[in-house]
């Protein structure tokens, strides 16, 4: 009876894995010259790009007949948990995906092996540098993507509203959203998630900073920060569906857009493929700013496990996966996230790939980007607290000021520790 006290508790699994992990780490296989098998766990191909990833892997295996790559694909939502558990257990793959926001944490904890790519000039320098620490490279960027404003041009035409341009500000977006919202017909003008990832960006659009200069405390509880939070939460229930309508549940916003019932949508360029076959016209524009423009830049990378038995083969695969021509071509053909390469000419074909017509906006959005704030400890807590407090304000259970006060106090406690 008392033994069941801990059953179902996640820690049991962690502990059990830790025990077996010690055993797994001990069985050192002496690396022969012969064929090796390396493992790669990823989330980047989940949800539609599995075959495209396999095409890149096949090309790598053809070029390196002595290396076999075993691919494991997990949904993004479960990936972080799985990776942590594997690291704890010592069963982590030789090569694994990380995202920019978590890079610092994994690097600081010694999970990543140092890499020296043969041709570092192949990478977009600014993105490559994001994965360096103390002058050394610890991961290679596999892609980058930005968040832009998607719009349904048929709805704009029907309502007689001018379509968004790269010069829009919040005021113009709101005015258009108000005109486009038609509750009787179930048409909503706008959708922007209420979350940490949107907030740090709209804060930058309003000229604010999320963290102070040395990253030890938050700096968003200012008039700019309040205004940014108001912009984020006050669309809900007026021009954007409310929580009661289902807002905030997975895929709610993209499904609404796919159904032709949403005029504007803030989401990432990774949705191009999913929207390719919709029966209405659509396009994109650089996200409107307020004091200035700022687009969210997301970047994924691959790292090699510091404990990998096959560092050499793993590093070779990591480089192939992030800089080979096969990868560039596969990604461009599929409309997958953009490769982080330096060769602009190779990306030219991207501009003429079809919908959306204004693909130039993707490159325009890169001119002013906002990178997510990163702290050495408590990153996930910081993100969770921010989202939770913003949703409290969205639901009307707190005023925006109360939510920011509370977020400031709680985040400072979580990251200051």
């Amino acid at each position: 009876m008392r033994n069941t006290a801990l059953a179902g508790v996640g820690i049991v699994a962690a502990a059990a894995l830790a025990l077996t992990g010690c055993a797994a780490g001990d069985q050192s296989s002496d690396e022969a010259e012969g064929p090796v098998t390396i493992t790669y766990s990823n989330f980047i191909s989940n949800g539609g790009n599995e075959e495209n990833l396999q095409a890149i892997v096949d090309a790598f295996e053809e070029e390196h007949p002595d290396i076999t790559v075993e691919v494991t694909t997990l949904p993004y939502a479960d990936y972080g948990t799985a990776l942590q558990t594997d690291l704890a257990a010592g069963t982590v793959s030789d090569v694994f995906d990380i995202e920019y926001a978590n890079f610092a944490q994994y690097q600081a904890n010694g999970a990543l092996a140092e890499l020296s790519p043969e041709d570092s000039g192949a990478y977009r320098a600014s993105v490559l540098e994001a994965y360096q620490a103390d002058g050394a490279q610890y991961a290679l960027p596999s892609s980058f993507s930005t968040v832009v404003l998607f719009y349904n041009s048929d709805l704009f035409e029907a309502a007689g509203v001018e379509t968004p341009t790269g010069d829009w500000t919040w005021a113009e977006e709101l005015a258009a959203a108000e005109e486009l919202t038609d509750e009787g017909a179930g048409i909503w003008g706008d959708h922007q998630p209420v979350s940490f990832y949107e907030y740090y960006k709209v804060l930058a659009q309003n000229g604010g900073e999320f963290l102070n200069a040395d990253g030890t405390a938050v700096a968003f509880n200012t008039p700019e920060g309040v205004e940014a939070a108001e912009w984020l939460v006050e669309k809900s229930g007026t021009v954007m569906p409310s929580i009661e309508d289902g807002q905030g549940t997975p895929d709610f916003d993209t499904n609404l857009f796919l159904d032709g019932k949403l005029a504007m949508l803030h989401t990432g360029i990774w949705m191009f493929g999913a929207f390719a076959d919709v029966p209405f016209g659509w396009d994109i524009a650089v996200e409107p700013g307020n004091a200035q423009q700022a687009s969210a830049l997301f970047s994924n990378a691959v790292g090699v496990s510091a404990g990998s038995e096959h560092q050499e083969a793993a590093a070779r695969f990591a480089e192939f996966l992030t800089s080979s021509d096969v990868m560039v071509q596969t990604r461009l053909d599929a409309g997958w996230e953009l490769p982080a390469i330096s060769d602009e000419a190779a990306l030219d074909s991207y501009l003429t790939l079809g919908d959306p017509a204004n693909r130039q906006a993707v490159f325009d959005s890169l001119e002013q980007v906002a990178l997510p704030p990163v702290v050495a400890q408590g990153q996930q807590e910081m993100q969770d607290i921010m989202t939770e407090e913003l949703v409290e304000a969205q639901a009307g259970r707190k005023t925006v000021q109360e939510a920011l006060d509370s977020a400031e106090e709680r985040i400072n406690a979580a990251i200051g520790g």
Partner: protein, 322 residues
């Protein structure tokens, strides 16, 4: 169900193994070899459950005890911090909150599942037509995965277009925000949990009801006792062993409530349904504080152990083993 069977066999075997070997000193050679053979037989029977128990329950428990004395983010090696994690938890107001949320859950869940289970057991203990089929139907949710049940309930209780609010709207009632409203999120979880576990409680109580000698009920009827009188003065006292079992098991499950919270609300909205085990999960896998999470696991274990011991002590006062 498995818990019930596991408990019973565990107890019997433990008694059989412990008593003869320890209490009587060996006398002769033949007796000793007979004793050894007996011990080996017992060990052979114990092995299939003892080995997995040690590997998957006892081992991790000891492991968690060690982790609880360290600071460990799952990535870099753990560092020894002694009892710091326990001190942090005891001074953190959030610890009290998650235990309060758990108690709130138990306070709603336990009466609901017991009274509901008893009502169905009483109804199905009569000569009702199709009762075998009904027993099966009521037990179905018990064997259904929590994730499936949680998704169905999320859909039923969807504030915007769920079945429940649609029906309420038909009667002119403006249904609540269920799992999107902090005031209604825990009641939503309680409702779904009681619905799922009703069948389990029903089966236990039904078995208890069927063990009651019908002659006693006939005698009470002859003496002029009405239905309520028979329920309170004859049935419930004779049902007390089954009731005791149901309460002990439901309390333990109640303290460990997790699946439905994780799948229905994830602890939200605004932390309104953040229960102890959800907190343990978040600390470990979201926030990389496995040490603190392990300490919280052990605190939960201590609370459940204490509550269970109190119940076992207290049962003499009200449980009637006839």
């Amino acid at each position: 169900m498995t818990a019930l069977i596991g408990e019973a066999t565990g107890e019997v075997l433990r008694d059989g193994a412990g008593r003869p070997v320890r209490s009587q000193p060996p006398r002769g050679r033949t007796q000793r070899s007979r004793r050894v053979r007996y011990a080996l037989t017992v060990a052979a029977f114990l092995l299939p459950s003892a080995v997995p128990l040690a590997m998957f329950t006892l081992g991790p428990m000891i492991g968690a005890a060690w982790i609880s004395l360290t600071e460990w983010n799952l990535i870099s090696p753990a560092t020894w911090v002694g009892l710091d994690n326990y001190a942090t938890l005891l001074t953190d107001p959030e610890t009290g909150e998650v235990f309060l949320h758990t108690l709130y859950y138990i306070a709603g869940y336990l009466p609901m599942v017991y009274i509901g289970g008893l009502a169905i057991a009483l109804a199905l203990n009569t000569a009702l037509r199709g009762r075998t089929l009904l027993r099966g139907i009521y037990f179905l949710p018990v064997v259904t995965s929590w994730i499936v049940v949680a998704l169905v309930w999320r859909w039923l209780l969807n504030p915007a277009n769920g079945v429940v609010n649609t029906v309420l709207a038909f009667f002119g009632i403006d249904g609540p925000g269920w799992w999107t409203d902090p005031a209604w999120a825990m009641p939503s979880i309680i409702l779904a949990s009681a619905w799922k576990d009703l069948g389990f409680v029903m089966v236990i109580l039904l078995a208890g009801l069927q063990a009651i000698d019908p002659e006693l009920l006939d005698a009470a009827r002859v003496d002029g006792a009405g239905w309520w009188r028979r329920l309170f003065s004859v049935i419930l006292p004779l049902l007390s062993p089954a009731t005791f079992f149901v309460i002990v098991i439901s309390l333990i499950n109640g303290f460990q409530v997790f699946d439905q919270v994780y799948a229905m609300t994830g602890g939200g909205p605004g932390g309104a349904t953040q229960v102890v085990v959800q907190q343990i999960y978040d600390l470990t896998f979201r926030y990389g504080q496995a040490g603190e999470a392990s300490a919280l696991s052990w605190m939960l274990f201590a609370v459940i152990l204490a509550v269970t011991l109190i119940q076992i002590r207290g049962q003499r006062r009200w449980v009637n083993y006839g």
